[in-house]
């Protein structure tokens, strides 16, 4: 066994050496993805989002509100408009994400003890920008209202603690487990980078097998493994397993090391999950490539299959809230198991006792490898049979 696997391994290394183009492209692709996400989410959250004020009052108060919005850390006042239509158009152009509308006569109302109405319009077609600007402006609004109330109570002779009790009888103290500063980069990169690597290793494995078929070198490949398809597949997979695992570990090392993303649990478990993720993705790729004899179709099907993996990993929108069928369907994706393990390890610091079912699930993808090997064997046998018949008819 050892001999035949080694022979295939040697052959595969030679093939990579002779045509290293795709190997290099994939590695550069991963590096590019890493740099891309780390630079784009460098700030953690988008800062200084553009908002506007529709100032129909034109008073001392409305100008002060503008200043106060500008002083809020997350947003900046990009423009002040005179009417609603202009602001709406700016929003439709995508220039601003939210605006406050201060109606005419606000200052007078306030002086005469009539509550004026402020309206906050938020564009939530842009998810992140809309939510963040809403949060900032709503907080600002509450603080501004509170400031007016506080002035009144001070004059009535209450002390500061009593005033806080009157203005805000209950408050939330939020503890965000696993990402206390709500860093978007932390949230995105820790799952996306392994997902991209798993995705690429799947496609690459499918590609190298499809390439053998396309170049019609399957026979020489299998001959090296003594016609044992399982050994042939294992020998072929090893270089990619090793290389992509190293890349995955390196990415994790950078993210949880110098970039300072929190890791609650043990390193060892994370390493094991990463290795198993790569292995499972490769098995899936092998199975698809072995099951479908047509090389272009192999690539098409594996792309169709893996294009859903980001959605079904459940890190953007929870899988539990998806239709029942897709919840079960997501079990067919290695990244789903990895992601659940990852949240257990990195966020909760859970140990092996909680993680083992998912590790087993990832290992179960090995069945696909055996199945793929069997299918490949069956195809070869059938081809041989057909070719023999072909010769016979020729003779006849």
């Amino acid at each position: 066994m050892k001999q035949s696997v080694l022979r295939v391994l040697y052959r595969e290394l030679r093939r990579i050496w002779l045509n290293p183009r795709y190997f290099i492209i994939m590695t550069l692709g991963i590096a590019f993805t890493f740099v891309f996400f780390s630079t784009i989410t460098k700030e953690g959250q988008p800062k200084r989002l553009s908002v506007a004020v529709v100032d129909m009052d034109g008073s001392y108060l409305s100008r002060r509100i503008c200043h106060e919005i500008n002083a809020t850390p997350g947003v900046k006042v990009a423009a002040v408009y005179n009417n609603h239509t202009e602001a709406r158009k700016a929003m439709q152009r995508g220039d601003i994400f939210a605006f406050y509308e201060i109606p005419k006569g606000t200052y007078n109302d306030l002086l005469q003890f009539r509550s004026p109405h402020f309206v906050l319009y938020v564009n939530s077609a842009y998810m992140l920008a809309g939510t963040l600007s809403y949060k900032q402006l709503a907080t600002m609004g509450m603080l501004a209202t509170g400031a007016v109330q506080r002035e009144v109570y001070r004059k009535k002779g209450y002390n500061d603690e009593q005033i806080m009790g009157l203005i805000q009888p209950i408050e939330y103290d939020t503890r965000n487990i696993g990402n206390p500063w709500i860093n978007y980069g932390n949230y995105l990169m820790t799952t996306l980078i392994p997902a991209v690597i798993a995705f690429l290793v799947l496609m690459h494995t499918a590609y190298v097998i499809a390439r053998e078929r396309q170049e019609k070198t399957v026979k020489s490949w299998l001959r090296r493994a003594g016609n044992n398809t399982l050994y042939a597949l294992i020998g072929k997979m090893i270089p990619y397993t090793v290389w992509y695992t190293l890349l995955c570990l390196l990415a994790n090392l950078i993210m949880f090391g110098p970039m300072g993303f929190p890791l609650e649990g043990s390193w060892m478990l994370l390493v094991v999950s990463s290795i198993l993720l790569i292995f499972a993705a490769q098995c899936a790729g092998c199975f698809i490539a072995c099951a479908i004899p047509d090389p272009p179709l192999t690539m098409g099907i594996s792309a169709l299959y893996s294009a859903m993996s980001f959605s079904l990993s459940g890190f953007s929108f929870p899988v539990e809230s998806m239709p029942r069928f897709f919840y079960s369907f997501s079990w067919l994706y290695p990244i789903r198991h990895y992601f659940r393990n990852f949240s257990d390890i990195a966020i909760y610091g859970n140990g092996f006792s909680i993680c083992w079912p998912r590790l087993c699930a990832l290992m179960a993808f090995g069945i696909l490898l055996i199945l793929g090997a069997y299918l490949l064997h069956w195809q070869q046998m059938r081809e041989k049979r057909l070719s023999v018949q072909h010769v016979k008819t020729d003779v006849l």
Binding site: S50, R114, Q162
Partner: protein
């Protein structure tokens, strides 16, 4: 003129035969743009997380906390699944993913309320998905505001204010919130319009790359061009091919950008006419972009699939829907305008989700036409440069052969 049309027709018919003769291209051109939008629409049909399980730890055991918990349970976002006696138990539930959030009422919750001081509720939330956090926050905030009003009103009454005075005291300024264009704040309404454009972009791009790769791999890229077009008028080849893809994709565009969003009740404020007018430069830009990249780099039929993954992901993040364009580092902002998907996504979301007329998306529209023009000239230039090089190579080979022949003949004579 008639010659031009005839040439375009020739190239067009060759290309149509190639598209329909290739199983993989058919899969990408026809199955993917229909299948994916439908699957994803179905996937994100529940726009938000509903009835998320939360645990409650009530150490205060008072009427106030009980009322608060009842209200939490009544929100559409949250369901109080467990009532724990201490925080450790609740954390255990959270570790087991039984609950996604914990509301903890400390012992002094009720007494602080009675003393007219600020009472605290501690909320622990799972950050593995931002949607858990969002659900906890939305549901929790609704209850908080409601409860605050009840308590404040009581206090003002105690302080001897009448109802009307009290309400004015409570809210010197009334804040109203209006969420535009995606009122539920759902993931589907945000993500799907963007996805439609990306699916169209990626399938066209991939299909064209595969066709070019196929031609390059089998060394028939020259044979596919009618011989009289090889020297001049190479632009007719580009136009003819583009026409083929365009005609295939116009119906798909109508289906993906108009009918499917209707069927799944996505926000759809734009009208069909605007969408179609906007689609024309988008499709042209994508087609010529695909042809440029295909002519430039693709050598194999199956290799474009390999790079397709991180490319799609990158296009989505660079399009400015997730991370706002103005907060992007300048480099990535300019980089994003290399791809037709960026103005395509921006423009389509503005038209479809926000109901902008064409005049409001002028910038994106012009960017698409500009891209179409640039990529058209680029693809034509690359094709003619390739033909030129090929021809020169052929001439050199021909000369060498002739020389060898002459040499051999000379040898023979001697």
């Amino acid at each position: 003129m008639i010659n031009t049309l005839r040439d375009i027709w020739t190239v067009f018919s060759i290309e149509v035969r190639r598209v329909f003769g290739d199983r993989m291209v058919l899969l990408i051109f026809f199955l993917a743009p229909i299948l994916y939008p439908v699957i994803f629409c179905y996937l994100y049909h529940n726009e938000n997380v509903e009835n998320m399980a939360v645990a409650v730890v009530d150490e205060s055991r008072s009427a106030d906390s009980k009322r608060f918990i009842h209200k939490l349970d009544a929100t559409p976002e949250l369901t109080v699944a467990y009532r724990c006696s201490n925080l450790g138990e609740a954390h255990q539930l959270m570790n087991d993913h039984e609950v996604r959030s914990i509301f903890y009422f400390p012992k002094d919750f009720s007494s602080r309320l009675a003393e007219m001081r600020t009472a605290r509720v501690i909320v622990f939330s799972d950050m593995s998905s931002f949607y858990f956090y969002k659900a906890a926050l939305t549901g929790g905030n609704a209850v908080l505001i409601d409860e605050m009003h009840t308590i404040e009103l009581q206090r003002y009454e105690q302080a001897g204010l009448t109802d009307e005075e009290a309400i004015i005291q409570m809210q010197p300024v009334v804040m109203e919130n209006t969420t535009l264009f995606n009122p539920t704040g759902g993931y589907g309404s945000f993500f799907l319009p963007c996805l439609m454009i990306l699916v169209l972009h990626q399938t066209i791009f991939l299909g064209i790359c595969i066709l070019t790769g196929d031609a390059n791999e089998n060394r028939k890229s020259l044979r596919l061009i009618p011989s009289h077009l090889r020297r001049k008028s190479i632009q007719r080849v580009t136009v003819g091919r583009a026409l083929c893809y365009l005609l295939i994709y116009v119906p798909l565009c109508i289906l993906d950008l108009w009918f499917i969003p209707r069927w799944f009740h996505l926000p759809q404020l734009g009208n069909l006419y605007t969408i179609l007018i906007f689609c024309l430069p988008f499709l042209l830009a994508v087609i010529f972009f695909g042809m440029t990249v295909g002519n430039l780099v693709v050598r194999q039929k199956i290799s474009p699939m390999l790079c397709f993954v991180f490319f799609s992901l990158m296009l989505f993040f660079v399009s400015g829907m997730v991370w706002p364009q103005e907060s992007m580092p300048r480099f990535w902002y300019h980089f994003s305008y290399l791809f037709p998907s960026t103005p395509g996504v921006q423009g389509f979301v503005k038209i479809a989700s926000m109901g902008a007329p064409l005049s409001e998306v002028r910038n994106d529209y012009m960017a698409l036409w500009l891209q179409a023009a640039v990529y058209f000239s680029a693809s034509t230039l690359i094709l003619s440069a390739k033909l030129f090089l090929r021809r020169r190579k052929n001439i050199i080979i021909h000369n060498l052969r002739q020389r060898r022949q002459m040499y051999l003949e000379a040898q023979y004579k001697r």
